[in-house]
């Protein structure tokens, strides 16, 4: 059964990548909101925000913007999975002798590919807006690794949402809190400026650890112990979401 798992996943991934290529608007929509936020923060709010560092504000906020890009991108993953479930095509796949896991993995890999493109677009715009980094190739690869982990963790949350949603709107609603989470973190303003309980939440939620790590990498600063907290969050969320996604998949197909 598992002998075909890779081949089946490749075929099904090819199928959903074709969906994206034929409606690239989903990738563009994913990139437009973060770019608008970036323009808003850099050119409207940015002047009044004191980050306490010598960096330009676009450098400061890009990590948070990238996380928002991914959080809104995975909404489409849930949406695509939900549409497959609604149409008859999902049942056709389930009644065929294909590896059961390949259907979900195809959506997960497609999600990864789509988010890589969206993130690349956003970074491109940030470069035009003055984002600069002296990061080496190794640091860029580390940044990419963390963003890939973040995408996969959120993708499996999206799979849970897509599998359990009753309506199209419900399928993507899970992403709103995820998109909002960076605002209550160190992504746009230092947490020290927030009132007590909010600051406590901001300092202890995963986005702050991830944002601080990415920011340190872009600035070629030492990442300290923050990277381990970030990785622990990412691997933990990924593992829990993966287990829950697969158990709700099994409930769905049996």
């Amino acid at each position: 059964m598992s002998s075909h798992a890779l081949g089946d996943t490749a075929v099904l991934t090819g199928r959903s990548l074709r969906h994206i290529l034929r409606s690239p608007d989903t990738i563009i929509t994913t990139a437009v909101t973060p770019i608008a936020l970036m323009l808003l923060f850099v050119h409207v709010f940015g002047g009044a925000i004191n980050t306490g560092s010598a960096e330009s504000y676009v450098n400061y906020m890009l990590p948070g913007i990238l996380l928002i890009t991914i959080a809104s991108g995975v909404a489409y993953t849930a949406y695509r999975l939900f549409l497959d479930l609604q149409g008859g095509i999902f049942e056709r796949f389930q009644s065929m002798p294909i590896a059961r896991s390949s259907v979900l993995w195809a959506h997960a890999l497609t999600s990864l590919a789509a988010n890589v493109v969206s993130v690349a677009i956003v970074i491109g715009v940030a470069l035009i807006m003055g984002f600069r980094t002296g990061a080496s190739l190794a640091l860029w690869l580390a940044v990419a690794g963390i963003l890939v982990l973040f995408t996969l963790a959120l993708t499996w949350i999206a799979v849970i949402a897509g599998l359990s949603a009753k309506t199209v709107d419900g399928a993507s609603a899970f992403s709103y809190p995820l998109i909002f989470l960076p605002f209550i973190s160190s992504a746009f303003v230092p947490t020290a400026s927030m009132p007590g309980p909010v600051a406590w939440f901001a300092e202890n939620q995963p986005v702050t650890a991830i944002v601080d790590t990415l920011r340190a990498m872009f600035a070629q600063q030492p990442v300290g112990s923050g990277i381990w907290i970030a990785l622990a969050w990412l691997v933990g969320i990924l593992a829990v979401a993966y287990v829950f996604a697969n158990s709700s998949y099994r409930r769905k197909i049996s």
């Binding site: 089946d8 969906h19 149409g87 095509i89 389930q94 009644s95 049996s254």
Partner: protein, 277 residues
């Protein structure tokens, strides 16, 4: 293989029960389907036809009872069952974003067949979709979509095919095309289990007809056997007028199609079927 098929029925259903919460959809269904025959499961909406097809195609677990398809138990050996079946669900299961040809290639690849492109082209030609092959399936008419759907089901020539209400929502011409395809399949040795709510469809296509009503099979037999359940036919004079379907087909279609249409006319037994206990 062939000796097996002649002894063992292609599908054997014994005491299948299924409830959704308090709703007892299937209350002990039994029947067998001979290999290479067309078996029609007739029933009104909500009779449980789709639930039964979903159980037989491994999409749903039964609460009680057992079913074997091509000699394999659907509950304990679902993967083996999936090797020998193909399901055409109630709603055309095609990928609307892909072209017709890409849909066929996708299924051929998932069935791990060689030359998926060649298989796709052959099926497009066979189902008169060659010209539309490179158009998105989303732009197809209902009949074309259904033909593509059935063509996708034939890839890999599974010995058993489930057709769940294959002609619901089709216009009369498309319906006749589907009927012809089903007949050809059975002639080629494929076992077909089809569900339908149309009495004339069961009458025209099926070797055996089972009537599913309130969760059980209340009658199961050939058309002739079912007709004998009612008192012998009285001879009455009835003026033979063309049905609207015949008029419609004669007006809109070429000669070939209207011939196929006149085959399907039963002589009043359609109405009699409704009065069975």
């Amino acid at each position: 293989m062939t000796t097996d098929q002649s002894l063992e029925p292609a599908i054997r259903v014994e005491g299948i029960e299924k409830s959704f919460k308090d709703l007892h959809v299937l209350r002990g269904v039994d029947f067998t389907v001979r290999a290479g025959s067309i078996f029609a499961l007739l029933g009104s909406n909500g009779a449980g036809k789709t639930t039964l097809v979903r159980i037989l195609s491994t999409l749903l677990h039964a609460d009680a009872g057992a079913a074997t398809v091509n000699g394999c138990n659907v509950a304990t050996h679902p993967h083996e069952v999936r090797q020998s079946i193909s399901l055409t669900g109630q709603f055309a299961a095609v990928d609307e974003v892909l072209t017709g040809r890409e849909n066929l290639i996708l299924i051929a690849q998932l069935r791990h067949l060689k030359n998926p492109g060649h298989i796709a082209d052959e099926l497009l030609a066979r189902f008169s979709l060659a010209e539309a092959g490179n158009r998105k399936a989303g732009s197809y008419s209902g009949g074309m979509r259904r033909r593509l759907d059935i063509a996708m089901s034939l890839i890999g020539t599974p010995p058993i095919i489930f057709l769940d209400e294959p002609t619901t929502g089709l216009d009369p011409q498309a319906r006749i095309e589907v009927w012809q395809t089903v007949k050809e399949l059975a002639q080629g040795g494929t076992t077909v289990l089809l569900t339908t709510q149309y009495l004339d469809e069961a009458e025209y296509l099926a070797d055996r007809i089972a009537i599913l009503h309130e969760g059980t099979i209340i009658q199961n037999g050939t058309l002739a056997e079912l007709k004998q359940l009612l008192p012998p036919a009285k001879v009455e004079y009835v003026e033979k007028q063309p049905s609207l379907e015949e008029v419609f087909l004669a007006l809109v279609s070429d000669k070939d199609n209207s011939d196929g249409g006149s085959d399907s006319r039963g002589e009043g037994s359609v109405r009699a079927g409704k009065d069975l206990p």
